[in-house]
């Protein structure tokens, strides 16, 4: 069963890789990298059960954290432009909505 699951995850990784290579817009590629990171976490978790080393699950959790923070940083860089003018630009959509 774990073998089938790992093969399915690998196929999904291939699809995400194709989207990252082909993706026309910036957000396609960001979504593809995020998906790829999630599949990495899942593959490591499945591998933990295949090899019987369940301490790998902690590594998978840390990978999920790194992936999340990385995607947040990439999105902020793409939409805002840099890190330090965030407090002004972040409120822009909210102001636009309320106005």
């Amino acid at each position: 069963m774990f073998i089938v699951v790992s093969l399915a995850i690998l196929i999904t990784m291939g699809l995400a890789l194709a989207r990252a290579i082909a993706g026309p817009t910036v957000y396609d590629r960001i979504a593809a990298v995020n998906l790829f990171g999630t599949k990495t976490v899942l593959l490591i978790a499945v591998w933990a059960f295949i090899s019987g080393r369940t301490d790998l699950l902690d590594i998978a959790l840390v990978y999920a954290l790194i992936n999340f923070i990385g995607v947040i940083a990439v999105l902020k860089l793409v939409t805002v432009g840099d890190f330090h003018s965030s407090s002004v630009d972040e409120t822009d959509p909210a102001k636009a909505d309320t106005e």
Binding site: S6, A20, R29, A32, L56, G70, V74, L77, E99
Partner: protein, 196 residues
């Protein structure tokens, strides 16, 4: 059996990603593909039981360096500039292929993976295996070597990495006098009106 299949598929993905990075003319796509490349390498390291290397690869390769390269890309403002393929890389290709063949030839003499009779495992490794736990009290031998036997070396590495981090933050993070900053609310207001 399944680990062989996973290894082959992951290595094929690595090759596809590398070719895509080389062929890509969009710098943002290249950076994103570098992130995927690092994630693939980290997964391969996990499958090969090198947990600490995999963790470093995921944190530095997929996390930090992607963000650093993106920050550099944003700062240099050539987001949509196309890279040209005008140069003729035949000399470089020949050098790379010859170097790769020499390296592969060199691996033929390397003893097998995890071979207990390998020269690297015959000298100090035996000492660490026998004495690491009673001398340091750390159950993981790799951690014992890094944190106890080579403690000062690791401390120096921490100092180097901290210095590099401070330098990178100064280069990429500290530019308070541009129009798009908090210190100049009038321009921000104007820009906001233009956008809306």
């Amino acid at each position: 059996m399944i680990d062989l299949i996973i290894n082959i598929i992951l290595l094929a993905f690595l090759a596809i990603t590398a070719v895509a990075i080389i062929r890509s003319t969009n710098l943002f796509a290249s950076i994103m593909l570098f992130g995927i490349f690092s994630l693939l390498s980290a997964t391969l390291f996990v499958v090969m039981d090198a947990l600490d290397v995999a963790f470093t690869e995921a944190a530095v390769g997929a996390g930090i360096s992607t963000i650093l390269m993106l920050t550099t890309l944003v700062l240099t403002k050539n987001h949509n500039e196309k890279r040209s393929h005008a140069h003729r890389p035949w000399l470089s290709l020949a050098v790379v292929i010859i170097t790769g063949m020499v390296l592969v030839y060199g691996t033929l003499d390397i003893p097998g993976f995890g071979d207990p009779a390998a020269p690297a495992n015959m000298h100090v490794a035996q000492y660490y295996i026998n004495n690491a736990l009673p001398e340091t009290g750390v159950p993981n031998i790799v951690t014992a070597v890094l944190a106890s036997y080579r403690g000062f070396d690791t401390l120096g590495e921490v100092a180097v990495i901290f210095t590099a981090g401070v330098a990178v933050l100064l280069l990429l993070g500290g530019k308070p006098s541009i129009p798009n900053s908090n210190s100049n609310p009038g321009i921000n207001k104007k820009r906001e009106e233009d956008e809306t």
